[in-house]
């Protein structure tokens, strides 16, 4: 049973299959190159032309992903809303920053969201807010489409994360969700900085290789 946001696989099962078929079909990008999808190229051009429908479409596609990621990292719904808005406004104002030939739009959006979220967490004010947050706060209602993608992709990633040696998993989670730098991870775990870096690198590569072996390295682009 997949448990995500209090809902179960049965509820999302049909959609997951649909998304699985859709996302898996984009696999096969050659190493060293990325072929942007027609939708990504079209989206970029429409954003450059300042088509508000493109912004809505992109928000529909990635809004839940960005908000969920920000909420998870920051632990504050209001701040996660600000991050979500800032990420989409950045894309709206500077669509040229996305290059479909160098990476997937979803990854790009996720990187923007994560950077802004940890940027906030790393500032003192954010830490204060995090400490003071309402212990009863809960993550908001899951979105079906994005959650379907999340189930398909995150389940594979999560399964691979579970397979990682504990020390690699801990280093990755401290960095990604707690916003620690590798130096802070090293200090927190009492290990040399080089070891912290290598645990992150080896862990991510191990997952990437495992996904590639399943033909899923770009399944959710």
């Amino acid at each position: 049973m997949i448990q995500v946001g209090g809902h179960d696989e049965q509820f999302f099962g049909r959609v997951s299959e649909e998304w699985l078929n859709r996302w898996v079909c984009t696999r096969g990008a050659r190493m060293g190159t990325v072929e942007g999808t027609a939708w990504e190229h079209d989206m970029k051009q429409r954003l450059i032309a300042r088509d508000p429908r493109a912004l809505t479409e992109m928000y529909d596609q990635f809004g839940s992903y960005v908000f969920g990621l920000a909420a998870r990292v920051i632990g504050d719904r209001r701040a996660a809303e600000d991050v979500t808005q800032d990420v989409f406004l950045q894309l709206w104002e500077r669509p040229d920053a996305f290059d479909p030939e160098r990476g997937r739009l979803r990854t790009f959006v996720g990187t923007l969201a994560h950077r802004r979220a940890i940027d906030l967490v790393r500032r003192e004010e954010a830490r204060r807010r995090r400490t003071a947050r309402d212990a009863a706060s809960v993550l908001p209602i899951p979105d079906v489409d994005e959650l379907a993608i999340a189930i398909v992709t995150a389940e594979h990633v999560r399964a691979e994360v579970e397979q990682l040696p504990a020390e690699q998993r801990t280093a990755i989670e401290l960095a990604y969700f707690a916003g620690r730098t590798y130096r802070q991870v090293a200090e927190e775990l009492g290990i040399p900085e080089g070891t912290a870096k290598s645990r992150m690198r080896l862990g991510l590569r191990r997952i990437a290789d495992a996904l590639a072996a399943k033909g899923m390295e770009h399944t959710w682009t």
Partner: protein
């Protein structure tokens, strides 16, 4: 800091997780920009990182999309400098056409009457025009503006307002033509060519508001595109403003989010000539109108409504420095 392939490999995992130090991030970005295989490896690991983050996908509050679309509609592109100047000129000109003799004698908050304010705008325009063809004019700043005003206005006491307006239009037309006449890299009294025109648009708006307040009339804001053009200048000038006040903070970055029609987001280095980091030491959110009025020294630092996330002292210094280039 330039990376070797081994150093790239050492950092790539931490980089994909956004767990590097700022100088390492810059070095990685330079390396990746120049190396497609490196970029592909970063992308491959970021797909994994994003997959870890996707587990918590959650629907944002319904109202957020509406808020986003409203803000996006306000995030207009800046105008070419001459077009921004022309729009503010046209708005001011239309306002001048509504004035009668009684209005002209009304005192404004900077000590000039409404009539003198228009003469002042025209006189400073003329000084910039003269400087455009005279590279020996190093700078026209607040002191110079005050001196120009003091020397020009006494000789125009008997000038009819029709004549004042005619001179203003004529001078302004030539001023707006500087963008077409001068090369883009030409300095005009210490300002870039286009910045000169935006400075004059800024001053036109500011004095337009001064006159409206003096007459008890409603203040109307510039078009969003003009406001954005002026906000760009206000943001670009901040590192230098900090330097003028002697309060630069090398290596630090502020993210300023100006809200409202013509607003936007800027990553501002806290010392001149530096490249801003994508990781901000402070995020300041304020109204774009407030910030531009502060730039023009029409409101005090504590009148700018802001929210601050991060280094509050740095935020206060930015607001304090924002008005250092304001003249009369």
């Amino acid at each position: 800091m330039d990376l070797t392939p081994d150093e790239f490999d050492d950092l790539v995992g931490a980089y994909a997780l956004d767990a590097c130090e700022p100088d390492e991030v810059e070095a990685m970005e330079r390396y990746v920009a120049a190396n497609r295989d490196a970029a592909a490896e970063v992308e491959r690991l970021r797909v994994v990182a994003s997959g870890i983050g996707a587990a918590g996908a959650s629907r944002p509050p319904v109202a957020l999309l509406e808020r986003l679309l409203t803000s996006a509609a306000e995030r207009v592109s800046p105008l070419p400098a001459d077009e921004a100047l022309q729009r503010e000129t046209d708005r001011f000109d239309a306002f001048l056409a509504t004035l009668d003799e009684r209005d002209l004698g009304a005192p404004t908050e900077n000590g000039l009457t409404v009539r003198e304010l228009v003469q002042h705008v025209e006189a400073v325009d003329r000084a910039f025009l003269a400087a455009a063809d005279d590279p020996t004019v190093a700078y026209i700043g607040p002191d110079e503006v005050a001196a120009i005003t003091a020397s020009d206005l006494p000789g125009r006491v008997d000038e009819s307002f029709t004549e004042t307006v005619t001179r203003f239009r004529r001078t302004r037309e030539v001023l707006a033509g500087l963008r077409a006449r001068l090369p883009a890299d030409r300095r005009v009294a210490g300002y870039g060519r286009d910045n000169t025109l935006v400075v004059r648009a800024f001053e036109t708006w500011t004095h337009h508001e001064d006159a409206c307040r003096a007459l008890g009339r409603d203040v109307r804001l510039p078009d969003a595109e003009v406001m954005r053009t002026m906000a760009e200048l206000a943001m670009k000038s901040l590192p230098l403003a900090l330097a003028v006040r002697g309060t630069t903070q090398p290596g630090r970055t502020a993210r300023l989010v100006l809200e409202g029609a013509g607003g936007g987001e800027w990553f501002v280095p806290c010392a001149p000539g530096e490249t801003p980091s994508s990781s901000a030491d402070v995020v300041v959110r304020a109204s774009v109108v407030d910030w531009c009025r502060r730039f023009a020294d029409r409101i005090d630092a504590d009148e700018v409504g802001i929210s601050v996330d991060g280094d509050a002292d740095l935020a206060r210094e930015l607001i304090s420095a924002a008005n250092v280039f304001a003249g009369l």
